[in-house]
């Protein structure tokens, strides 16, 4: 009887679904949703300018499905998050200038630390990569747009509510809503995050943690939708000339990254929902024996691939941009491609190197050490390829190139310090010290953010049609490079000294190095203010670029298709009655003596 009822219910639901589908096909002509609607296509021999009228003003940005517009939205979103996360850490570093608490209390410090990590990884890192990939990949592979333009737009619009939920605790306290910003660190380790006194009463943030979990889940859904879109786009929308042998390195890294997201983020989503259930619905996934280890395993199974989700596309940007200013092709292109794929696979076999100190079985621990050692090889291969590309090249130290070289330099320090941590005996000594903080900031700030800056400066003329101010760009680089190395090298030394991470206070013997780290952070801060000023000012008032080859890439035969698209866009604009301005300038392109746009 019960089975019959279930069958009847299933049939009913099936009929209902068919009826809804039939109704939807009647009310809407879905074929009108061409993926090119609202986009600009001008690729290869099939060049065709088909931009349709877009609504003006805010409505354009709220309704756009054009991959380029969505790329810009991702960029603005990512940079806003970068500013928020940066201001959070400025407060923390000011606090850490003295051993005792002065400016920020321990609870607020913990909240800032938690939100800084999550903001930089989820709200800055992933979206800024999506900014580049959305804008550029369809142009570079010769696609009309993304495979699913509307999913692309939805994926972006999930992010603003995600950020609001993640940051909600900071607003809730002053508004008297009865909960605080989470104090769990971005790792959300249980039992701290399970809330011993019930979901809304625990001292680590109360409902602020629940909102953060939901916000993280939302950002994971957005990332997964984006990943599916990129995989579909790269597999199915390539120009016929873009065979697998011709696919550029940036697209390869985005394809690999999308694969990683597809396997990693759904698992994070499941773990987050399990934690939410533990906190609010009386389940005990992480409260039973072994629950804390279970959380760490689930979290890091996502968490370590996340590192490569962030770094692989940035390596792709460096591999794409660096050869342009070395005046030659990327050395060992296929080595870099295969290394990217190797990193993608091996990144799923290293997660427990974050857990060497948990007391798990030494046999299991050893296997993670072995894979962690193995994954260093493809990263090193890439590094040697970048260096070899520079060898005997016609090097032009433009701002993007400076950031690329800075990336390589910082990546070497961040990578080598990481190899030491992959070794169990060394890790057991350095675990939970500032050495780890210094190591991963060399990667996250010194490499990932640097590559992001390289990409922003390199494609700034393409996106805005204007050139940034080269002197300010170079000032931004040098302040960032010096600031990064002062701050994070001091942290590595602090770690050798045994200073534990995640505390608002520390013992007086660590004062000198902490002051140095804070000075470094202030240098970084000044650099980023210059960056924001340069970006905003140049976008509105920078001199227009007239040449479709502002970097003078044709001279070395390293011109690429997105600049060809840009060239045609300029030509079309002029033909359409666009204004022709004089004094087009570049940063290292042509004319050389006008390279500064001050």
């Amino acid at each position: 009887m019960e089975i019959n009822a279930q069958i009847a219910l299933t049939v009913f639901m099936g009929v209902l679904l068919v009826a809804v589908a039939a109704w939807l096909t009647r009310i809407e002509d879905w074929r009108s949703y061409s993926s090119t609607a609202g986009g600009v296509v001008s690729q290869g021999e099939r060049s065709e300018y088909i931009e349709q009228e877009k609504p003006a003003g805010l409505i354009r940005w709220l309704t756009t499905v054009d991959h380029k517009d969505i790329g810009i939205l991702y960029g603005i979103y990512g940079l806003t998050a970068f500013a928020v996360g940066g201001l959070m850490v400025v407060l923390m570093r000011v606090e850490l200038a003295t051993p005792s608490t002065t400016l920020v209390g321990p609870a607020l410090y913990n909240s800032l630390m938690t939100s800084h990590g999550i903001t930089m990884l989820f709200l800055f890192g992933t979206p800024i990569i999506a900014a580049f990939s959305n804008y550029l990949i369809p142009l570079i592979i010769g696609a009309d747009d993304m495979a699913f333009p509307r999913i692309n737009a939805i994926a972006f619009w999930l992010l603003p509510p995600s950020a609001l939920m993640i940051w909600a605790g900071f607003f809730a306290g002053p508004l008297g809503l009865g909960f605080e910003a989470p104090q769990t660190a971005w790792t959300l380790y249980t039992p701290l995050s399970t809330g011993s006194a019930g979901g809304s009463l625990d001292p680590a943030g109360g409902a602020g943690i629940d909102l953060m979990l939901l916000g993280l889940h939302l950002s994971g859904v957005a990332a997964t939708m984006g990943a599916i879109n990129f995989i579909a786009t790269i597999f199915t929308q390539r120009d016929e000339n873009v065979t697998w042998a011709n696919l550029d390195i940036f697209s390869w890294t985005i394809l690999t990254q999308s694969g990683l997201i597809l396997f990693a983020f759904p698992l994070l989503g499941s773990a987050l929902l399990m934690l939410l259930a533990d906190r609010n619905f009386g389940t005990s996934f992480f409260l039973a024996d072994g629950g804390n280890l279970l959380w760490q395993h689930l979290f890091w199974f996502f968490g370590h691939p996340e590192v490569y989700i962030l770094v692989l596309p940035m390596m792709g940007i460096v591999s794409y941009v660096l050869p342009r200013f070395a005046g030659r092709k990327l050395f060992g292109f296929k080595f870099v491609v295969y290394s990217t794929l190797a990193i993608g696979v091996l990144s799923f076999g290293v997660w427990a190197h974050h857990m060497f100190a948990t007391g798990m079985d030494p046999r299991l621990r050893a296997s993670f050490m072995a894979v962690s050692m193995a994954i260093a090889i493809p990263s090193a291969v890439k590094t040697f390829n970048w260096i070899t590309t520079l060898w005997n090249g016609r090097i032009r130290l433009t701002t993007p190139m400076l950031f690329c070289i800075g990336f390589v330099s910082n990546f070497i320090i961040g990578g080598v310090t990481g190899v030491f941590l992959a070794s169990i005996p060394v890790d057991l000594v350095l675990h939970d010290t500032y050495y780890v903080v210094g190591h991963f900031h060399y990667i996250v700030m010194g490499a990932i953010a640097f590559a992001g800056f390289a990409g922003i400066y390199y494609w700034f003329p393409l996106v805005t049609g204007r050139m940034y101010q080269a002197t300010l760009g170079k000032a931004h680089f040098w302040l960032s490079f010096i600031g990064t190395n002062i701050t994070f090298f001091a942290m590595i030394l602090l770690g050798y000294g045994g200073m534990p991470r995640r505390y608002a206070t520390y013992l007086p013997q660590f004062t000198s190095l902490n002051v140095i780290a804070t000075v470094g952070a202030m240098i970084l801060f000044v650099g980023q203010i210059i960056f924001v000023w340069n970006l905003v000012n140049s976008w509105y008032a920078g001199k227009r670029v007239e040449s479709g080859d502002p970097w003078d890439l044709k001279r070395d035969g390293v011109h690429t298709v997105e600049w060809q698209w840009f060239d045609r866009k300029i030509e079309t604009a002029i033909t359409d009655g666009g204004e022709e301005e004089q004094n087009a300038v570049t940063d290292g392109g042509e004319p050389i003596d006008k390279s500064e746009n001050n």
Binding site: T243, A245, V337, A342, R363, S367, V371, A374
Partner: protein, 118 residues
Amino acid sequence: MATKIFDKDTILDLTVNFVPLGILAVFIGIFVFADPWGFDLRASLPMYLIMFSMVISLGILTYISGKAIAGDEKKAEVYSQGQAFLDGAEPIDPHGHGENSEETDEHESKTDPENEEH
């Protein structure tokens, strides 16, 4: 067909992924023969599973990607990255024989004092 795709040049390209495979093989060998912690199914099974799954997955992905890339190299012209449908782009030698050496000569002559200005 497979032997045609996986010729000497392609195998040479793939060596980059053989190195991590080799490192994993060495570790597996050490753990099998030295056996420092003894054998216990609950711990040893996941230990070997993690390493073998990586070896197998990496091997499969390397094979598939090598087949896709090398196969396309043999079917169509190969261009520098980002130049596949660039007007006037010249195809390149996919295996890079002489590519870099030619470039080196070319760039030595191209290098000029202008570089130092930047």
